[in-house]
C-alpha cells in the first residue's frame, strides 16, 4: 500500500504545477487546464486521506469536485468561444480595456 505521505507529496506537487501554470501562462485554455490540474490535486488529497482514514466521505467529496469541474468546463468553454469570436485568438492579454487608469 502506498503510504499517505507519498500521496500528499504527489498532490502538493500537482497543485504547485497548476498554481505556477496559472500564474505564468497567458492562453485562456492553458490557464483553464492549470485550474483543472489544481482540482485534480485536491482529488488526489481527498482520496489519499479517505483511504488512510478508512472514511468514504472524502471519496464522495472527490466525486462532487469532479462534477463541479465538469460544469465549470461547460461555462468556461462558452466564454472561450465568445473570446475567439471577438478577437480570433484566446490570449488573456488581449483583454485590457477594464483597468484603473
Amino acid at each position: 500500500m502506498v503510504p499517505l505521505t507519498h500521496v500528499l507529496v504527489f498532490g502538493a506537487v500537482l497543485f504547485l504545477i497548476g498554481l505556477v501554470g496559472f500564474l505564468s501562462r497567458r492562453n485562456f485554455l492553458t490557464l483553464f487546464m492549470s485550474v483543472e490540474i489544481m482540482l485534480n490535486a485536491v482529488n488526489v488529497n481527498l482520496i489519499g486521506f479517505s483511504r488512510s482514514l478508512g472514511d468514504t466521505a472524502g471519496q464522495v467529496f472527490a466525486v462532487f469536485v469532479i462534477t463541479v469541474a465538469a460544469a465549470e468546463v461547460a461555462v468556461g468553454l462558452a466564454i472561450l468561444i465568445l473570446m475567439y469570436r471577438s478577437r480570433g485568438r484566446v490570449l488573456v492579454q488581449d483583454w485590457r480595456a477594464l483597468r484603473d487608469n
Binding site: 466521505a57 472524502g58 467529496f61 461555462v75 468556461g76 462558452a78 466564454i79 484603473d100
Partner: protein
C-alpha cells in the same frame, strides 16, 4: 443512518420553490414565441418564486424554535439560516426589479437571465444552511456558475465578455485554493461535517497545527475572494465595471453576503478551535481591505469602479465585527453582539449598495447607462428625485446618522471596542473619514452648477422606481428604528451557539 422520510425534505422547500421558479422562468424564455411575451412573464415568475419562499421558511415548524439538522446534519434550517435567507430573498427581489428595464433597453432575452439569478440565490441559501464542507462548496459553486454566465450576459459587448473572462478565471482559481484548504481540513479532522472538524480542532498539536494554519490560509483565500477581501479583491472593480449594471448590483452584494454568512457559521460551528490561526490573519486582512479599498477609490472617476472599491472597503468593516467576536477571551454576550452587528451590517449594506448601483440604471446619457462622474453632473436639477435617492444611498454609505449605514458602523465599531480590538476600531473610524471624501465627490457632482455632457433622461420604468424607493425607505427605517432588526439579528446569532 436512519431512513430518509418525506418530512426530512420540508426544510428544503424554500430552496426547492425558488429552484422550480428558476426552471419555469428558463422554460418561459425558451417557449415564448416572441420577445415581448416572455419579457413580462419571466420576471413575474421570478418574483413569485422569491416571495413565496418567504412564508415557506417559517412554515417549517422547527425552523424558528429548535434547530434541526437534516440529511445526517449536512443541512440545517435554524434561525440564523432563516434570517439570512430572508435577506437573500430580498436581494433576489431587488435584483429582479432593477433588471427588468435594463434587459428591455438592451433587448436581451430574459428567461434564462432570471433563471440563473434565482439559481444564484439558491446557491447563497445553501451556503447559509451548510453544516458540511461539501455542501458549503456546492452552494458557493451554484452561486459562482450562475454568476459567470450573468456577468457575460451581453454577448456582443466586449466589456461584458472581458469581465466574464476575468471573473471566471480568478473565481475558479480561488475555488481551487478553497478546495485544497478543505482537503487538508478533511485530512486533519477525519470528516467533512462541521461537528467532526470542531471535535478535531479541540486538540490540535505540533505538525497538525501547521497544517491547520495552512488550511486556514487557503480557506481565507477562497472565501475572501467571494467577500472581496484584500489581496483577493483585484477582480472586483474590473468585473463590476464590465458586467451589465443590474448584474453588478447583484454581484456587489450576493456573493459577499453568502461568504460572510458561511464564514460566521464556519467559525462558530466548525472552527472555534482554530481561532488562534484565524484572528491574527483576519485582523491584518480587515485593516488592509478597508484601507486599500478606500485609498484606491479616492482616485476613481468611474462611479461603478468607485462603488466597487467602496464595496471592498465595506467588506473590511464587516470583518471587524467577525474578528471582535472571535478574539480570545470575549464573553458570550459580546460575541453574539459582535456577530449580530455583522448581520445588521449585511442588511444595511444590501440596500445601500444595490440602491447606489440601481440609480445608475435610471440615468442614460447617450446610448450607455451612466458610469462616470461626468454623467451624473448636474443631475440634481434635471432629475431631482433620482439625485435625492442617490444622495440617501451615499449618505448611508458614508455613515451619516439617521441612515442604516451609520447604525451599522456604530454597532460594528462599538463591538470592536467592547471586545478590546482598539486598533481595528481606530482603523475603521479613520477609514470612514477617508471614505467620506470620495462619496462627497459624487454628491458634489450631483448638485454641480455647470451642466454635464449629454441629456440625462429617465431610463427606468416602474419596477426600477419601486426597487429604488423601497431601498431608500428601508435605509431610513433601519437608521431611525434599528432596534427591531438588531434584536432579530441577535436572536438569529444566538441560535448558532
Amino acid at each position: 443512518m436512519e431512513a430518509m422520510t418525506l418530512p426530512d425534505l420540508r426544510e428544503l422547500i424554500p430552496e426547492a420553490t425558488i429552484s422550480i421558479s428558476a426552471l419555469i422562468a428558463i422554460l418561459v424564455g425558451a417557449l415564448a414565441r416572441n420577445y415581448s411575451s416572455a419579457r413580462r412573464i419571466a420576471p413575474a415568475v421570478a418574483l413569485i418564486g422569491l416571495v413565496a419562499a418567504v412564508p415557506l421558511m417559517f412554515a417549517v415548524p422547527h425552523a424558528t424554535t429548535v434547530p434541526t439538522a437534516r440529511f445526517e446534519g449536512v443541512f440545517v434550517a435554524d434561525a440564523f439560516a432563516v434570517c439570512l435567507k430572508l435577506l437573500f430573498s430580498a436581494v433576489g427581489v431587488i435584483a429582479t426589479l432593477v433588471s427588468v428595464n435594463f434587459l428591455e433597453a438592451e433587448r436581451q432575452a430574459n428567461g434564462e437571465y432570471y433563471g440563473l439569478l434565482l439559481l444564484a440565490v439558491v446557491g447563497m441559501m445553501l451556503t447559509a444552511s451548510a453544516r458540511d464542507v461539501v455542501l458549503l462548496f456546492l452552494g458557493l459553486e451554484v452561486l459562482s456558475l450562475s454568476t459567470y454566465v450573468l456577468v457575460g450576459y451581453l454577448r456582443k459587448d466586449p466589456h461584458s465578455t472581458e469581465s466574464a473572462i476575468k471573473y471566471f478565471l480568478l473565481s475558479s482559481f480561488a475555488t481551487a485554493l478553497l478546495l485544497y484548504g478543505l482537503s487538508l481540513l478533511y485530512g486533519i479532522s477525519g470528516g467533512t461535517s462541521y461537528a467532526a472538524i470542531r471535535a478535531a480542532g479541540a486538540h490540535l498539536s505540533g505538525d497538525l497545527r501547521l497544517v491547520a494554519m495552512l488550511s486556514v490560509v487557503f480557506l481565507t483565500a477562497g472565501i475572501g475572494f467571494k467577500a472581496t477581501l484584500v489581496p483577493f479583491h483585484m477582480y472586483a472593480p474590473d468585473v463590476y465595471q464590465g458586467a451589465p449594471g443590474c448584474v453588478a448590483a447583484f454581484l456587489a452584494v450576493g456573493p459577499k453576503l453568502a461568504a460572510f454568512g458561511a464564514l460566521i457559521r464556519l467559525l462558530v460551528e466548525a472552527m472555534p478551535g482554530f481561532a488562534s490561526e484565524w484572528v491574527p490573519l483576519l485582523t491584518v486582512v480587515s485593516i488592509l481591505t478597508m484601507t486599500i479599498g478606500n485609498l484606491v477609490a479616492l482616485s476613481q472617476s468611474n462611479v461603478k469602479r468607485m462603488l466597487a472599491y467602496s464595496s471592498i472597503a465595506h467588506a473590511g468593516y464587516m470583518l471587524i465585527g467577525i474578528v471582535a467576536a472571535f478574539t480570545p477571551g470575549v464573553t458570550a454576550d459580546v460575541r453574539s453582539q459582535a456577530l449580530a452587528a455583522v448581520v445588521y451590517y449585511l442588511v444595511a449594506y444590501t440596500f445601500m449598495k444595490m440602491g447606489a448601483f440601481g440609480i445608475l440604471l435610471s440615468i442614460k446619457p447617450g446610448d450607455r447607462f451612466a458610469e462616470t462622474l461626468d454623467d451624473l453632473r448636474g443631475l440634481g436639477r434635471r432629475r431631482p428625485l433620482a439625485a435625492a435617492l442617490l444622495l440617501v444611498f451615499l449618505l448611508s454609505l458614508i455613515g451619516i446618522p439617521l441612515t442604516a449605514g451609520f447604525t451599522a458602523k456604530f454597532y460594528v465599531f462599538s463591538s470592536a471596542i467592547s471586545a478590546g480590538c482598539y486598533t481595528l476600531a481606530i482603523a475603521g473610524i479613520l477609514n470612514a473619514v477617508v471614505a467620506a471624501t470620495y462619496y462627497s465627490r459624487i454628491a458634489i457632482a450631483l448638485y454641480a452648477v455647470e451642466p454635464g455632457r449629454g441629456e440625462p433622461y429617465a431610463a427606468g420604468g416602474i419596477s426600477l422606481k419601486v426597487a429604488l424607493a423601497a431601498s431608500a425607505i428601508a435605509i431610513l427605517l433601519l437608521g431611525i428604528f434599528p432596534g427591531r432588526v438588531l434584536e432579530t439579528a441577535l436572536q438569529s446569532v444566538r441560535s448558532l451557539f
